[in-house]
Subunit: 107 residues, 2 copies
Amino acid sequence: MKNATDLFFDAFANKNRFNILMQLRNKEMCAGDLQKTLGVEQTNLSHDLKCLLNCKFISVRKEGRKRVYKINNETNELVDEVAKHVKNYETYLKKCGILKEEKNGRI
Amino acid sequence: MKNATDLFFDAFANKNRFNILMQLRNKEMCAGDLQKTLGVEQTNLSHDLKCLLNCKFISVRKEGRKRVYKINNETNELVDEVAKHVKNYETYLKKCGILKEEKNGRI
DNA sequence: TTTATATATGATAAAAATTTCATATAACGA
DNA sequence: TCGTTATATGAAATTTTTATCATATATAAA
């Protein structure tokens, strides 16, 4: 059985899911808007939103036939910390050479 | 070409590499001791240490025929933040259901 | 200067993650 | 209640990541 750290990174460090968390920083959005902004498949987005909901990184409320998603404060802060670290180490990350070169990419 | 966030998570969210960073929190260790403590293959450990070095998450100094590794302060702090978040969300992560069930696991 | 220990490298094999596909459900408006 | 929009589900296919293997280098001790 996986431990909590494994599960955490599976949820949080996933390209599409982290992109969602980045979008939701400091603002709420419905699934349709996330889809347009991120340019992802509807079905993938839905899978990913469910995962983030299950982990309680985000919450949701209904508004007509739309679902409006919101990131929680602690997760918002952690996303900020990570973004800061990425910025500080960007130069070295790009020169690493061991990390793979191709992938669809986060925003 | 991958962006910095992709590269960051490739380096940081990797099971073996994060285990190394956890071990190096607040203490220096040589490769051999990391190997014993983590119970990993020598060759995998070496690949992972090189990656962490390239990204400047850790540094190294020679001591006889050993290499002694040290985590940097910023990365140490980020590891702490993540560990805290994992602890806070552990219950939900384990009930997620979407995240995969089997893997070798972080420590 | 040979042997043993400590660590590194690169290619391929194995395992795991992500995407796609086919389809389902839920809410609203005509 | 029928069609349309918005979102969800599960399984299979594809892609990516991680582990293994064979071997190399570097330092020190005998």
